[in-house]
């Protein structure tokens, strides 16, 4: 039971943690295809510390910065842009704490090079706020106590947001598969299901953002 089938269409409802690494075939290709890359444009790098200039659109704001080609999007968000809502949990694509939306799809920022993310719309947990107001998924997580220590929570909420953007009326089964790429060691999964269900209901009734 530990290993469930990867979701059939990663582009529709995001990445499952184990599905991602478990299916180095069509699934992984779909994941790669989901991120528009500028691989052709990257010059050959000989020194890993040689900097490349890129522009990243994060939460609607354009940032121009110099990056090492090996820097992940997670590193650039947290350490260069100071956007620390996105958490570092494993830095190898296994826990989901660093989930961000890239063009509306949940992605692991630790497995995405900053270079790759150029030209995309990146949304972090902070981007789901409306000024100081919580977004509807954030509100649902707060009201349903869908967290304990809260460390995985930004990633969980971003994953839920991505799921609802792709599938506004998910079934319980689809919610569980959509959220299965994000670990919560505190084990708040029951409350996460409650929160996502509630957020989906609210959005269908027109109350969402």
């Amino acid at each position: 039971m530990a290993k469930k089938k990867p979701i059939k269409d990663a582009a529709e409802s995001g990445v499952t943690r184990r599905g991602f690494l478990g299916s180095v075939g069509a699934g992984a290709a779909a994941v790669a295809a989901g991120v528009s890359t500028r691989a052709e444009a990257i010059p050959e790098i000989t020194d890993p510390e040689e900097m490349v200039q890129i522009a990243l659109t994060v939460n609607g704001r354009l940032h121009r910065l110099l990056v090492e080609p090996r820097w992940t999007l997670l590193f650039v968000l947290r350490e260069r842009l100071g956007i620390t809502g996105t958490k570092a949990g494993c830095e190898r694509g296994e826990c989901g704490s660093c989930s961000v939306l890239i063009d509306d799809l949940p992605r692991y920022a630790c497995l995405t090079l900053a270079l790759e993310a150029e030209g995309t719309e990146i949304t972090t947990i902070e981007g789901l706020l409306d000024g100081e107001e919580l977004g509807d998924v954030q509100r649902a997580f707060a009201e349903h106590d869908a967290f304990q220590c809260g460390y995985c929570t930004p990633g969980q909420i971003v994953a839920a947001e991505g799921l609802l953007r792709a599938n506004p009326a998910p079934t319980d089964h689809e919610i569980r598969h959509g959220m299965s790429g994000n670990l919560c060691r505190c084990g708040t999964y029951q409350h996460i299901v409650n929160a996502v269900t509630h957020a989906a209901d609210g959005r269908r009734k027109g109350g969402g953002s």
Binding site: F75, R78, T84, K87, D145, G150, R185, V193
Partner: protein, 766 residues
Amino acid sequence: MTDRHDYHVNGPLPETPDNDATAGAWPKTTVIGSRRSRVDAYERVSGTAVYPHDVSLPGMLHGAILRCPHAHAKVLSIDTTAAEKMAGVHAVITRATPGTDIPWYERGGTFSSTLFDATCRYAGEEVAAVAAETPLQAADAVRAIEVTYEVLPFVIDDAEALAPGAPAVHDGGNMVGEPRLRERGDLAAGFGEADAVVERTYRTECQIHAPMEPHGSVARWDGNRLTVWDSTQGVFPVQETLARVFALPMSNIRVIGHYMGGGFGAKLETGKYTVMAAIMARMTARPVKIFLPREDCFTATGNRPANTMTIKIGARSDGTLTAIDYHSLGAAGAYAYGADTSSLAVYLYRCPNLRAEDVTVYTNAGKARPMRAPGFPQGAWALEQAMNELAAKVGIDPIAFRLQNLATELQSDPPMPYTSYQLAACLENGAAAFGWQEAAERRVTEGDIRRGVGAAACFWGYAGGPPSTVVVKLFADGSANLNLGASDIGTGTKTWAAMIVAEELGVPVDRIQVENADTATGQYATPSGGSKTVPSDSPAVLAAAAAVKRQLLGFAAEQLEVEPGDLEIRDGEVVSRSDGEKHLAVTAVEMLGRRGLIMGTGYRDPNPEGSVTFPCAAQFCEVEVDTRTGEIRILRFLGAHDSGRVLNRLTFDNQVFGGMAMGIGLGVTEERVLDRRTGRMVNANFHDYKVPTILDVADSHACLAIDVPDEAFNSTGTKGLGEPATIPTAAAIANAVADALGIRVTAAPLTPRAILEAVGSQGKEA
């Protein structure tokens, strides 16, 4: 330099005479017991909460640690020349660096070790550390350090560690102290009386805490003052340890832990990484941040040890237990915390004849640390499976069999009463709420998909106590500030504390500011562990609120010209009970306005003498087992929990479900795998070490709160919850799987492979 780990103190305490014995005797509650979202929910869901891992300071360097790749080796030489010359590197420290010869793990008379020890006793032990401008530069530099090791023979298996000629983890053999032996009655006579006896050996594997926030700290010096942001379960022991390490007064050390991303016991000790960050910060005059890579969190920050437990248990044909013989062996790794598991066997059921022995051995592996109810889930795995097997043998329903044999007092010599112990209600009401009989009738024991039900019971052998100090301040506008020392490790500490103040003072929860977990600005609390934060600290919160209330009512009584005892606070007003005409808004109490605020201090009273307090629980589950794939699907789980008075029903449920998730990990998915040839952990990552996902927990989780205040224990009537929530889970699953398959799998985790092997052997055994 390990911490002084005092969860609570015995003996006299200088309690304040202000503690109000009548506080908390609420005739009815409006806030306490309700479902409240957390006072820090906004910060946690918006991304604005600053966890230690998020702390970034001007000029901050990033640290990385070099670890020994061998399970057992002597460090012969370390060459840091290349690393020191690398771009961005500011400091490299090893055992040769002055100031690093800091005593660390020791066991009186047996062995002592240092921060960077000359001998590495497990694969993952610290050898050197680097601070550099970026994390990648630090990691690069660590790889450039050249170490010559003399590789030594090692032992990683618990049974092999005791064999003659086994490699010695420490001088003086591999036994950790003396075996713990507990006996009562006459074992042989007890088995002589038994009409039915079962005997089996059970096994649980090593489980890793794996909190989502990695272990780590940020250290900054200002002259000889040190500030540390630490992902810890308790800031005060870290402060004390750092003060000793650097020979500074505690007032020079400030440890801040406002937020932390989970611990489960692994963050109850001061990390070597914290000290290394502080040493390198001092050398470089720059703040240093060390957060461990996930792999190191798996290998080097502690675990629940693997245990092998043999239990022989007998009963008369009428179902009365007559004898229990229990033996446990645990591998505690290189620096033992302990691996005892026998407490449930000793105390859960009434049994006059008992022998229980716990043996713990050193192995060349990552160290055992307290993990969510240390020893108890393992003990439940053995005892509660054996109880089911014995119940079947004497032909009694497993719930009824447990109820018949429940111990109602502590079987010590002499016996001690429990203050409040609602385990019978947990079993009876829990079975009713779960629909035990109906579920049992749905049992499917043939075909590809089998279905079964299982239950298990437990207590948790700790309930906290003093010391704890809390301060509550009432501002002139009727809002309040609450200051407590305890870390909120995800358990909702800040929220229930605010709810107590709201209940006692009538201040709405959203008008209470909560400060916590800061050694410089906070009150004192012991670390958050042992399921004791609520029962240890909530009485102090209540006493502080009551102290404010007493002063406020005193001032109001003068103004209204009534006796203070005639006054109560209702909806923001001070009201006379006897004369409804006499009332006053809290904000209209003149002395409050003149003074600016009213401050109350509360202390935790000593525990009552001559009694013992345990939270307890029973959990029930229904599972499907696919005999073709070996997969277990957990259809539903119900936890019936007696933790005394429920403070916040929403977070109470959440704790229960979270405990179950961790228990599902122990029972079904999680297992540290060590390579027998190298002694290294081969699954030190979240892909191969399977923390349960949302697809692995039950399709639905339910919680039944027994909610009987334990008024004999403390002023809030509370006991703990976090640990009992995970104790019976794995055993309940095992019982359900055995119910479905008609065969018992004795070794955790119940992986598809283990299930298929059991199913495959079924025909042969019959």
